[in-house]
Symmetry: C2
Subunit: 220 residues, 2 copies
């Protein structure tokens, strides 16, 4: 089982017992979402922006307008940092100090290049789409040349990464356990509600399997 | 109704029709969450990290360990950028190009200072706690001096900000509307499941009102 090299850049310092550098575990956290917060520098200020992504092996794909300030900044810097976080619960202790959240998060440090090859670009766009909702791409109207040419696609190759996960109960001070204060966990989840047909849907278009599958696997 | 000044820093360029600079609308988006992604510079690399926050008027509070790399970097830079995003739905068009998500997001540009005054620090810590779950702080064991002194609290005063919101249906090309392709919205929500008592809960401790209230207002 392979792990990412640990350097001062990606070493988790606060709560190192919750840190992981294992590639497979990190990929699992990446694959549980489709929106990352991507950090970039704008005139020396660090800013981050939520972006849709997809992953194939050790590559993350981002796309956007040819004029997207953030994508252009990443391209110029030739490197990017992405954070993906899933909130799993509120950890409610007897003291404020021991309150926490359960979560799975990764920080990815990647090199950046623009994809020019048309075939690779299409594979990347399909990947981003299908990370949002599996099997969607193949059901769609094919991309036309104008759309294709006006979309910037970046390939981010992960150079190193770290994960931080908390998945446990309340850790109060021993001397606090007998206090008459409620403590516990409230699980938090991101869920899907029932799909809503577009008002302009053509006649006789049924909801396809990939949509009902998504709902079935994401409903409360 | 007051609005933030628009400068090249906070002007929304992609999709300007979805941009807002109104203070009250921005506060509403801030107040719908308790975790922000905070961007900082580490040796010239932009990195972002999810952090709990609270807001009072135009101030955002963050807290953490005295040795927290990110908080110390913000303090040194004397400025910070925060992004808060709520995902509200998948927007599934007939073409890949018109896929989108419904969301409410803000980017806040703030000055940063450390809170040294004990009274202000306590107000800030209570604020962060109660943003996670309202009315929690007053039910807890009081913070002791050791905990208080080992917690770093930063006050971020919002200097300018922008919001970007998408809250609508599918916007397909007119000529695509008659295609036999399913299009629509899948609403996405963050929900709470039933609270789970800590296994070591003292006898006769009932679930307090603020916990049942939270569950009632956040359940599916």
């Amino acid at each position: 089982m392979s792990t990412y090299n640990v350097s001062p850049l990606n070493k988790v310092k606060r709560g190192p017992n919750r840190a992981m550098y294992d590639v497979e575990e990190i990929n699992k956290i990446i694959d549980s979402g489709f929106i990352a917060h991507v950090a970039y520098n704008y005139n020396g200020k660090a800013i981050c922006i939520p972006m849709a992504y997809g992953r194939i092996e050790n590559k993350i794909y981002l796309h956007g307008s040819l004029k997207n300030r953030m994508l252009l900044a990443l391209l110029e810097a030739r490197e990017a940092t992405l954070t993906i976080m899933h909130l799993d619960g509120l950890v409610l202790a007897r003291s404020g100090f021991h309150h926490s959240v359960n979560y799975r998060s990764v920080t990815l440090f990647a090199s950046v290049q623009k994809i020019d090859n048309a075939k690779t670009k299409e594979v990347a766009l399909k990947c981003v789409m299908d990370y949002m909702i599996p099997n969607r791409w193949d059901s769609l109207r094919t991309m036309n040349t104008k759309e294709f040419n006006s979309t910037l696609v970046l390939e981010l190759e992960i150079q190193t990464a770290s994960a931080k996960v908390r998945a446990e109960g309340v850790n109060d001070e021993k001397m606090d356990l007998e206090l008459p204060i409620w403590a516990g966990i409230i699980p938090i989840k991101q869920i899907a509600e029932a799909p809503i047909n577009d008002a302009l849907l053509a006649e006789d278009v049924d909801m396809p399997q990939h949509i009902t599958n998504y709902y079935t696997t994401h409903k409360p």
